[in-house]
């Protein structure tokens, strides 16, 4: 196909465009009342939901820690409770911090920049969910220690102790494994895929593919 012919048919008057412009002329009017459904807004919304839930959880943890620290007597159980909840709060705070950081980056995204630059920034932000997920997994073992106290440890029996050591040991191993393995390089591994399934594995792989496409697009190959 010759260039001129291609351009000619692309620019030829057609029924489809006429119909669209006749019916949808209002689409081209400037209505500022319209609620924008931009990609950026939806990304910001999902981050705000994550931050709200995270802050809610952290607040709940702080209330429990506060009451435990100031209204209960000193004991081994108090140490386990406050220590576990503090670690859970810390891990959640890190995930929330990453979400807040993403919002600031999102606010700086400008559609007026070149297509590859803007799209690369947007796709990279979709990948940032991975960082939050791997940090969040670090709190897992502390859900198996918050209830421990002197009575349970000393009088809980041998079976309880074995089960407790096994569960805490396994969750600790798993948390460290997840933290080390959840990254872009391992997205092809089934176990990593399963861990990301509930938090948008599809959009993460799509974003990664798109980043590769942009990289390839920008190269003189």
């Amino acid at each position: 196909m010759e260039d001129e012919y291609l351009k000619k048919i692309w620019n030829s008057p057609n029924r489809e465009i006429k119909d669209f412009l006749n019916i949808n002329d209002k689409s081209f009017e400037l209505t500022q009342t319209r609620k924008a459904k931009s990609k950026i807004k939806s990304l910001i919304f999902s981050k705000i939901v994550g931050i709200t839930l995270g802050l809610g959880w952290i607040s709940f943890m702080f209330i429990l820690i506060y009451y435990c620290v100031f209204y209960t007597p000193m004991s081994l159980g108090k140490g386990f409770f406050v220590g576990s909840l503090s670690m859970i709060s810390l891990s959640t705070s890190l995930a929330v911090f990453l979400y807040v950081k993403d919002i600031f980056t999102l606010k700086q995204i400008d559609n007026c920049e070149s297509v590859t630059v803007t799209q690369l920034k947007l796709a990279s932000l979709q990948l940032s969910i991975i960082k939050s997920v791997r940090v969040s997994w670090l709190q897992l073992p502390f859900y198996t220690t918050w209830y421990l106290n002197y009575e349970l440890i000393m009088h809980g029996g041998i079976i309880f102790r074995i089960v407790q050591i096994l569960v805490t040991g396994l969750t600790t191993w798993f948390a460290i494994w997840a933290f080390r393995n959840i990254n872009y390089q391992n997205l092809n591994k089934k176990r990593v895929r399963n861990l990301l399934q509930g938090v948008g594995f599809y959009s993460v792989t799509q974003a990664l593919d798109f980043i590769k496409e942009i990289d390839n697009f920008g190269n003189d190959r």
């Binding site: 196909m1 689409s27 990609k39 070149s114 798109f210 697009f217 003189d220």
Partner: protein, 170 residues
């Protein structure tokens, strides 16, 4: 908002360019009902970004950057839900209308549009800009790549379109 383009001038510019906005929408949104939504989104984002438009930048370069960024983002957002329906819808449209189309240009235009819609997101932007007779320099500026790269990619995409046409005919 302290815009270098006033509202009246902006509306005039949009009216003058609504054809190309439609073509971008048509290339990134296969769902007829959603095209209006995308067109509105582009116009809205153009107005929102108009404060960043500088007189030293060509209006079309700025407009294409915003419109294509919005369209690609919109497409990527709705790709998951629309992908299966859209391609079959697109093919059905062509099949349904094929009998009625007497105009050879119209028939080929629909075929060209179909082939363009099958390209990757970024390849689509390149060929749209090429078909709109933008210079390699302007395309490079809009997309953020080198002129040499633009030339190489366009050559390859045209080759791809040629191959698709041959396969379609056979």
């Amino acid at each position: 908002m302290n815009n270098p383009i006033d509202r009246k001038e902006f509306v005039k510019l949009i009216q003058e360019n609504k054809g190309i906005i439609f073509k971008i929408c048509n290339s990134y949104c296969h769902n007829k009902e959603k095209r209006e939504d995308l067109a509105q989104e582009i116009v809205y984002q153009l107005w929102r970004s108009s404060h960043s438009f500088h007189a030293n930048l060509k209006f079309s370069t700025w407009m294409y950057r915003v419109a294509l960024n919005v369209a690609i983002s919109y497409y990527r957002k709705s790709k998951r839900s629309d992908a299966v329906v859209s391609l079959s819808d697109n093919l059905k449209d062509i099949e349904d209308e094929d009998d009625d189309i007497e105009d050879e240009y119209e028939k080929n235009r629909k075929l060209l549009q179909r082939f363009i819609n099958e390209l990757k997101e970024l390849d689509r932007t390149l060929i749209i800009l090429f078909l709109e007779s933008k210079s390699y320099m302007e395309i490079a500026e809009i997309l953020g790549m080198t002129e040499t790269n633009v030339a190489t990619k366009i050559y390859r995409i045209k080759d791809q379109l040629k191959q698709k046409t041959i396969n379609f005919i056979n």
